[in-house]
């Protein structure tokens, strides 16, 4: 019950944050001309030709807060404006491009977290020994790689040298046809998930094949964070008094590390994992661009490039919501892992 109240409270916090973000970005758009700003209210290609009347209609020469109010009103009616870049309403653009990014995030995040935790705690348990040094070097190396270069390299090898073994894009053309045909129901537009739900093996394999390189690229670069964090968190945990107590009780070293130290060390890692997912959900611009994996990152970057204001605003809104939601999930996870948070402390 108190958990529900907690969630409700946190969702309510969404509002001021959204308010702040949108006001801020809206303020920036004020630097643009009314014509450009008019695109925020357009819902169809015809509308694009009608800009002067739109400027009239929505009073784009009126004071700031009046405009902001009008726009906000629009948003509540589900109209986020027109995305010039992809020629569709912003709302639909998000709906259209989100699945690709989610697919990447869903595959990459567990890989990053699990790998990071495994090697991080290994490194901590064997501090200053070869494992520790090797882990650190690999982590720093991964973090130092330019994402785009890694992507190009991987493509060069696995697409060029190995003749199309792991091609770019989300699906090969044959599968693309299959997926858009009537036989295949796109529940989520996340290809792997849909393939499973449709019990369609070939599509699943094809989708996975296209996912391998982008996921590897993203994971390699990001794993360092988690590894280092887990390592320092574990080291801190291993230095605590309860570890000595556990040893004094006669607990085997293996259990001391896994049962006593790790549970405590995971706590900060959870927070970071949440932010990691949020960041990935916002789209890995470079990876998506290189591998022609058209997701949110690709859309947002194209919008930024072409100064498509409504798209950028819509994207900002999306990111803000994502941020708060992720924070919420992380907080809830926190309560499950750390009883001090769950039960609110206090001496009886």
């Amino acid at each position: 019950m108190e958990l529900r109240a907690y969630i409700a409270r946190r969702l309510l916090l969404l509002i001021p944050v959204l308010f702040g973000v949108t006001v801020f970005i809206f303020a920036i758009t004020m630097f643009f001309s009314p014509t450009e700003r008019a695109t925020l209210y357009v819902t169809s290609p015809q509308g694009m030709r009608d800009l002067p009347s739109i400027i009239e209609q929505y009073g784009l020469d009126r004071p700031f807060f009046v405009q902001y109010g009008t726009w906000l009103n629009q948003v509540f009616h589900g109209n986020l404006g027109w995305s010039n870049v992809v020629s569709m309403p912003v709302g639909r653009a998000i709906f259209h491009y989100l699945p690709a990014t989610l697919e990447l995030a869903i595959f990459a995040t567990p890989i990053i977290i699990l790998t990071g935790i495994f090697f991080g705690s290994r490194a901590a348990a064997h501090k200053d020994k070869p494992v520790d040094h090797a882990t650190r070097v690999v982590a720093i190396l991964g973090w130092s790689l330019p994402t785009f270069w890694l992507g190009l390299l991987l493509m060069m090898i696995f697409y060029g040298y190995f003749r199309g073994l792991l091609p770019p894009g989300r699906l090969s053309s044959a599968m693309e046809i299959m997926v858009t045909s009537g036989d295949f129901i796109r529940y989520t537009r996340i290809n792997t998930l849909d393939a499973i739900l449709n019990l369609n093996g070939p599509v699943l394999l094809d989708a996975l094949r296209h996912l391998i390189l982008p996921v590897i690229t993203i994971s390699t670069v990001n794993v360092a964070f988690i590894m280092r964090l887990m390592r320092s968190s574990m080291l801190e945990s291993l230095g605590k008094g309860y570890i000595l107590t556990a040893r004094a009780k006669g607990v085997q070293e293996k259990l001391v590390i896994s049962k006593h130290a790790r549970r405590n060390a995971l706590i900060p890692v959870i927070t970071v994992s949440g932010y990691l997912f949020a960041a990935l959900a916002g789209g890995a611009v470079i990876t998506e661009t290189i591998f022609s994996f058209k997701g949110m990152g690709w859309w947002a970057s194209q919008s930024a490039l072409r100064l498509d204001i409504s798209s950028v605003l819509g994207f900002a809104l999306f990111m803000a919501v994502m941020f708060v939601l992720v924070n919420l999930v992380v907080d809830i996870l926190y309560t499950r892992v750390d009883p001090r948070v769950r039960l609110g402390g206090g001496v009886q």
Binding site: G241, L244, A246, R247, K249, G250, D338
Partner: protein, 385 residues
Amino acid sequence: MKDLIKIRDLAVRFYTYEGIVYAIDDLDLEIRQGETLGIVGETGSGKTMTALAILRLIPYPGKIESGSILFFDKSIDQELELLKLRDDRMRSIRGNRISMVFQEPGAALNPVYTIGDQISEVFLLHRRRELAQRAKQRLDSLLSDGNGLAAGVKRPFWGWQRRIYDKIAKESHAFEPRLLGRLPLFRRLLWRMGYEAKLLTVDMLKDVEIPDAARVAVQYPHQLSGGMKQRAVIAMALACSPELLIADEPTTSLDVTIQAQMLELFRRIKVDKGASILFITHNLGVASEVCDRVAVMYAGRLCEVAPVGEMFVHPLHPYTKALLNAVPMPGKKLETIPGVLADALNPPPGCRFHPRCPSAMPICGQERAKLKEVSKDHMVACHLY
């Protein structure tokens, strides 16, 4: 009666970035069966290290350089060399035959597990056969008394469980139960071990006078007060009725009223359990309350060992005298010991205390004094004697 613990020529060194620290140097000490021995000294005197050495828990970068620690095992009437014991044998002694209570109860308890869980852990580690035996007995009564449909359905499961627990009761790490314990679905079969452990835990908590023990067992450390936490830690240490309980400054972090209660608890433990206690403290008053004999350490070396009454009435070593003198008393001028604590990296040659000793003689700076019995059961390491 044989000494429970016999320490001879113990040397513990720390290989740090800055140099070698001689934490314990040439220590000879005995802990007798059933006695409460106090080790008194300032910070850095090596008292905690002595305790950790007995349990072989000296942290990196420390190392037990040389020496021997003999533990008299009553069950086999043999002395065991603790420093040469195999790892798993040593583990079976820790928490079981020799256990330790640390200074900060808050730090000693793992914040993400309940008190009950942490104490039960000790039972699950060292008392598997007993737990299994109890579970088996419970199942026996279920099987014989059980009537009705529900019982009828569960009967085969009970039988199966009983067989498994029987195996554990005979051999604590029998193969079949261990295998089952690792398989996800079959793990549940062993739940009774945890259950019995819980029961024993609550009993233990009652033993250390924690009110409302059953409720406390499911609470987390942060929900308890300092005194309660310390009692819980003591419960954890006493769970398997150890022959030696090491208490490292158990009362230092508690406030005075709780301290008094704690000391009372220790006195009761002495009487009820008949265990030996190694009581480490820097507080002479506390030592005088609980200990039978007291040992005084300085800079990693033993200065004086004597029965408590004798020590306080006839202290022999200059350091001991200075310590007793330094106890603040109303009406008396506050005495301090001049000089600074011996540098751990570069200790003074000969007797470690000689730079600060009012009775220092030339020989004190050259060679250290050996431990000598000056009067009955009263040993000193000082050139004065």
